[in-house]
């Protein structure tokens, strides 16, 4: 991509990432939540991929790391749900005291809801980045007069 896009990306990527984290963390107080914030966090890495290429973005968040984060988020969400069964006897029970440690309308309130938001945010961010990576790998290219779906790794080898 052009120099303008690269410079703007270099300045803005941190702010976009922080905004995504804010939307995830304050999901129980303001509009947003785990899903929307996770998509914003994923869009940071997609912006990096678009402006600096795949290698730079995969250097920040590798494919293996992304799949591990994806599974970790899903398992964390499930763990919170099962902990409700273990502690209170009901699946998805809000087992943390609602007003602990500060009252309503504060960041640390609402029991398990912020924790669930964080788990979903991690999961959505990692999985949407993975979708983009695996879809951007495949390209349509003319090979000996025929249109073919080939991957970028293969194309690099043929060069």
């Amino acid at each position: 991509m052009s120099l303008v896009v690269q410079t703007v990306t270099r300045w803005l990527k941190g702010f976009i990432f922080l905004y995504g984290v804010y939307v995830i963390l304050y999901g129980h107080l303001s509009p947003g939540g785990g899903f929307a914030g996770g998509v914003i966090v994923a869009s940071t890495f997609i912006l990096l991929t678009l402006s600096f290429g795949r290698e730079r973005a995969l250097g920040k968040l590798g494919k293996l790391m992304a799949s591990e984060l994806d599974s970790f988020g899903a398992l964390l969400f499930l763990l919170i749900a099962v902990l409700g069964t273990a502690i209170g006897g009901t699946f998805f029970l809000n087992f943390i005291e609602k007003n602990w440690p500060t009252g309503n309308f504060h960041l640390f309130s609402a029991g398990i809801i912020p924790l669930c938001n964080i788990a979903i945010g991690i999961k959505v961010a990692a999985s949407l980045f993975m979708i983009f990576i695996i879809l951007a790998v495949i390209r349509v290219q003319e090979v000996r007069g025929k249109r073919k779906l080939i991957t970028t790794e293969k194309r690099r080898k043929e060069r």
Partner: protein, 181 residues
């Protein structure tokens, strides 16, 4: 006022969807779908659903980028070939059936602004609105519903997302297992 604005945006969305269907250029089709999604997000904002509006906007931007980046290349941006007669007729019959169904369903809808779930006195929506803050401690009622009252739903959604990523990875991975051996 809000209803008029929503109507204008609905008309805009219908026009955008028709352009996306009828144009032969794939890039224009994708961009008009993006316009439809943006108008839908503004509609959600107008009727008082900022959570859904944020999610819709963000997902729309992401899917537009993925569609443009991953499916459209310099070649292959136009659609070639004619539609066959049988397919066209089947589509028309389907649309007629859907129109009749939609119109008869539309006549039985509750009036705008008073959803069916809040009509009866013991409706769950009333319970959520009255006791949501006390029972869950979350100021955002949407978060209270999707993560506390309806946690199962969200778990199911997370499972759907996880399974779809698994399927996409299995289909689109670079090397198949047979080739490796």
């Amino acid at each position: 006022m809000v209803e008029l604005l929503v109507g204008v945006f609905l008309l805009f969305m219908i026009i955008g969807a028709l352009i996306a269907l009828e144009t032969t250029d794939l890039l224009s089709a994708v961009i008009s779908m993006g316009a439809v999604g943006a108008a839908l997000s503004i509609c959600f904002l107008l009727v008082g659903a900022p959570d859904i509006a944020i999610t819709q906007m963000v997902v729309e931007v992401l899917s537009l980028v993925i569609l443009i980046r991953a499916t459209i290349r310099r070649d292959l941006t136009t659609i070639e070939g004619d539609r066959d007669f049988f397919g066209l007729m089947a589509t028309l019959a389907m649309i007629c059936g859907l129109l009749i169904f939609g119109f008869s369903a539309f006549l039985r809808l509750p009036p705008f602004g008073s959803p069916a779930m809040s009509q009866s006195f013991q409706a769950p929506a009333r319970q959520y609105l009255n006791c949501g803050l006390k029972e869950t401690g979350a100021a955002n009622i949407v978060a209270a519903v999707i993560l506390d009252y309806r946690g199962y739903d969200t778990l199911g959604e997370a499972t759907v997302l996880f399974t779809s990523i698994l399927g996409a990875l299995a289909i689109l991975r670079v090397y198949s297992r047979k080739k490796k051996q």
